[in-house]
Every structure is written in structure tokens, then in C-alpha cells.
Symmetry: C2
Subunit: 303 residues, 2 copies
């Protein structure tokens, strides 16, 4: 059997062009497909586009406490000094906080919400654990954008995730509108692996989480994929949910509005896809970016 | 009678807060209002919002030649060296070309298109001339955004435009969609003058046309206005037209798509509002940014 590195050559092993995905998008067995909770219609949409948007899945009231918790972190100077808290490059504002499910029991319970967990288990066709959790925060007028990228490209290179068998759940903590820097995705882009030129610097994560320069696909490939699939930006009120496949290309623009944009991200990985050594050959990133120790299967818990 | 500088203190005369607009938005006499070409409904919309969007006003075929002309300028190294051609700060790509109506007879004729001219004459209630003309171009993946600003704030400070009696006509040369950095406006913001802190540097225009730092309203004022009026981004196919009042706050985000975004801007000023000495006390900007010599009233010409 071919090694996954031969399917997914990038960075140190950069090759021009695009490689067709070599594994399923939905890992559910036929029985799991039929059992739900996602309908065949929803599964087909996710399979085709690489994401599934569910406007208003949770109520604004259900997610409001998480937004307050973020506020508290921003006001805690000890917390702000930690590696897992990433500041905006141009502003003294929090951009991301990682490992939220290990900081806060409310976040931990949310990752194990029975509805969320059963959808993700169905998509990945197995038990799952949290590979990474984070809040991304863009304050009014100050949040910078994120360049186009595939999360899998980074997780494969820098964390040693062997295969495309992970899914991100993004929960909007504030309304996401056209002006506060919502997530953009290229439908269908998850069907290709786009190698990215450039070598991975040592401790790349200390910079890449602020401004990504390595792991950015060539513009020609992005243009081809966007011309084929278009670009979409799922919008919605606080509580809306987006499930997106680990290889779907996504980006976001700056927040030009006075309205903050905060989204929660839980990355679920299949227990059959646990991390190996990073394929870039570098040292693994810290555990708050790619879990190596706590990879026990999640069990559902009522929120 | 009060001097306009007392109504519009900014930069060197910065005062916190916001000042109510001291002059009409529509300068048409009752007879001119009734005569058209803009209907009472359209006039009221423009009066309330500070802009009027007309999707597909011209056909894509009518505007295609202008896009080709821009292409030729980008390929002309002599042209690219001129002051009136502004390059993108991060990329060796053209961001703006000024004085298009003096470079190209096709542009000149377009500024005098009878439909366009009669709408603008109605809004300004007088004969008009071109204060400034330009193309703004955002190449795929590389166009930077523009910060929130009022054109009038700059034209008053740096060009000596005495009153709010000018209107910009923006014609889309390419489709403007949610992803290629379309213009955003704050409806109703034209009803306030927002003083901007900071002194005007000598020859500010050599930097401000790339990245604006002076003439940017305080965030609190922007937030108040956006919370009151919201934000809108008129989208549409090539040929769409936007008329916007000189004091309406506008901005745009980066172009995150592979699709270029090029818009033509003609700024029409009333012949009763010709430039004086700049209110910043600095030397006037070059004629391609604010016309001082060729200010004869425009006469219509068939395109």
C-alpha cells in the first residue's frame, strides 16, 4: 500500500499541481449512513461541497455563556501570556485561544453534546476525539483575515495526521454577517490535495497562527478551484453551526464592521487516524494544537 | 455667515464628536426635482442613504472597452511610472489610475454620457465639472482594502472643496461580488461630518492613496454610525452604477477571490463649489487629484 506521504506531497516534498483525494469524504458504513442523524440529503451535500451549514442550530442563549468566557480570558493578563493565546499581529487583541475544552468544563461538555457528537461520529464512521479546540475572535474593526488554506495540509505536515478523516465543527458565538469577516469556503476543494511550496520553519506555529505564509496554496490552484466551485460564506445568527471537512479550502477577510465575530472550533479526529510523526520531519507542535496524549474516544454528555 | 471651516473642523482643527451636515443632500430646485431624470422615490432614497445603486444600468458590453484600456495601461511601463498611477503597497499591481478622462477620449465621452450627466446635474442642482476621475483596480487575490473614510473630508482638507456639493459615479467594469472586495457604505453617514484626528503630512497623497492613515474617522464614531445605519455593499454585474454623495462613509475589504474587481469613478462637482485653498493649510494636491484648471461645465455627448 502506498504511504500517505506519496498521496500528499507538500512543502519539503512540494510538487506542482493537484492530487485527487485518495479516501472517502464520508467514512460512515452504509448502515451508519442510513441510521442518521444526518439525512442522506445532508450527507450528499457535505460529500459534494466539503461542508454543511446549519443556520441557527443552537439558540443564541445556548452559546452566549461561551462568549462571556472569552471576554474573561481577554481580561486575564496571566492567561494572555500563555502560548495557547494568540494575539492579533497588528492589535493588542486576542485572535485565538486554543485548548478551550481543557480550560473550561462548559466547553468540554459542549464538545460532547450528544447531537454534535453523533453527527461527527457518523461522518467519520468511528469513535472520535478532540484533535484541537479553539476560539477565533475578530474584534470590531480590528480582526485580520486568514489566508486560504486547508487545515489538513498543516495537520499532515506539522502534526502527522495521516489521513483525511477529521471534521471541524464551527459554532458561531456572534452573528456572522457579510461585514465582520465570516468564513469563506471553496465548495468541492476537499476533493483535491493542493501541495504548498516552501519549507516548514522550526516552530512555525509561533508565527503561522498570526499570519500564515507557509501552507498557502499557489494562486493558480486556488483560482482553478474557485472558478470550478465558486466561493461561499455561510452566514447566520449566533448559535449557527458549520461542519467542514479537514481538507476544504477556507479563508476569511478582515472585520470591517464594529461588530465582533467570534467562532468556536472543535476539530474531531477519528480514533483510527491518531497522529504519527509530522510529515515535515520537524518536531511535533504543542499538544494544544494537535492532541497526542488525551485521545480517548469522547462520550456524550448532556449540555 | 459662518465659514465652512467652522462647520467642518478636522485634522489640524480636530474636535471630538460629530457635526450635523449644514447643507442639503439634494441641491435640485423643486422644479428640477420634479423634472427628473431621477424619480422622487430615487431622490428620497439618495437623500436618506447617501447613495443610490442601479444594478445593470449599463450593459457589460458597454463597459468592456474600459476594462481593456486599463489592461493596456498596466502593460505600459512608461505609464506605470507616472504619479497618477498608484501601485498596490504589497504587490506590483496597479491600484488606481487617476485622470482617466484626460488620458482617454472614450473615458471623457463616458463622463459626458447624457443619462449620467443629467442625473448628476439634477442631484447637484447646477452645471457640473469633473473634480477627479479614476479607475480602482483590485486584481485577483491581491487587491488591498480601503479604510473607512469620507471623500469630502479629504477634498475639503487637502483640495479646498468648500461645501458638500459633489457626487461620485462609480461604474463597475467587472462583476462586483461578495468576495472580490466590493464597496461598502454606511447608509445615513452623509448626514454627519466626522472630524478625523491627525495632522496632514506634506505631500500626504503620495502615501494616502496607497494606505490611508490620516483622514480616518475614530472608531467610536464609525461604530455609532454603523450601528444606526448598518452597512451595505451594492453588488452587481459589470455595467452596474452607483451614485454616492461626497460625504458618505465608505470602505472596502481585500479581494479574496481570483476574480478582478475594477470600478470606474467620476467625481462631479458643482460649478458653484469650485476649489479654494486647501483647508489644511498645505499646498494643493496635483490637478489629477483635484481639478483647478479645467473646470468648465460639462456638455453632454452621445457615447
Amino acid at each position: 500500500m502506498l504511504q500517505t506521504t506519496e498521496f500528499y506531497p507538500t512543502r519539503e516534498r512540494y510538487t506542482e499541481g493537484r492530487f485527487p483525494r485518495n479516501e472517502p469524504v464520508i467514512h460512515a458504513s452504509p448502515v451508519q449512513r442510513a441510521e442518521g442523524p444526518l439525512s442522506e440529503y445532508e450527507l450528499e451535500k457535505y460529500e459534494r461541497d466539503g461542508f454543511l451549514s446549519m443556520e441557527g442550530y443552537f439558540s443564541p442563549e445556548e452559546v452566549a455563556p461561551f462568549f462571556d468566557e472569552l471576554d474573561q480570558i481577554e481580561k486575564d493578563p496571566v492567561m494572555c501570556e500563555k502560548d495557547q493565546v494568540i494575539m492579533d499581529p497588528n492589535q493588542q487583541k486576542v485572535r485565538s485561544v486554543f485548548d478551550m475544552h481543557n480550560i473550561s468544563s462548559a466547553f468540554d461538555r459542549m464538545t460532547r453534546h450528544p447531537h454534535l457528537l453523533s453527527m461527527v461520529q457518523q461522518l467519520l464512521g468511528s469513535e472520535v476525539y478532540i484533535h484541537q479546540s479553539r476560539i477565533n475572535d475578530k474584534s470590531g474593526f480590528c480582526g485580520n483575515g486568514f489566508e486560504w488554506h486547508s487545515d489538513f495540509e498543516t495537520w499532515h505536515s506539522e502534526d502527522g495526521m495521516p489521513a483525511m478523516r477529521a471534521v471541524s465543527a464551527s459554532i458561531m458565538l456572534t452573528d456572522n454577517n457579510a461585514f465582520n469577516g465570516p468564513l469563506m469556503l471553496i465548495p468541492g476543494s476537499h476533493q483535491s490535495f493542493v501541495p504548498c511550496p516552501g519549507e516548514t520553519p522550526d516552530n512555525n506555529w509561533t508565527e503561522s497562527l498570526k499570519t500564515q505564509t507557509v501552507g498557502v496554496p499557489p494562486r493558480e490552484a486556488l483560482a482553478d478551484l474557485a472558478n470550478a466551485g465558486g466561493i461561499e460564506q455561510p452566514l447566520g445568527p449566533a448559535g449557527s453551526l458549520l461542519l467542514f471537512e479537514c481538507n476544504t479550502l477556507h479563508a476569511s477577510n478582515a472585520n470591517m464592521s464594529p461588530w465582533p465575530r467570534s467562532n468556536l472550533f472543535f476539530v474531531y479526529n477519528s480514533v483510527d487516524n491518531r497522529l504519527q510523526q509530522p510529515f515535515s520531519g520537524k518536531a511535533p507542535r504543542p499538544g494544544f494544537l494537535g492532541a497526542r496524549e488525551n485521545t480517548r474516544p469522547l462520550t456524550a454528555v448532556r449540555p
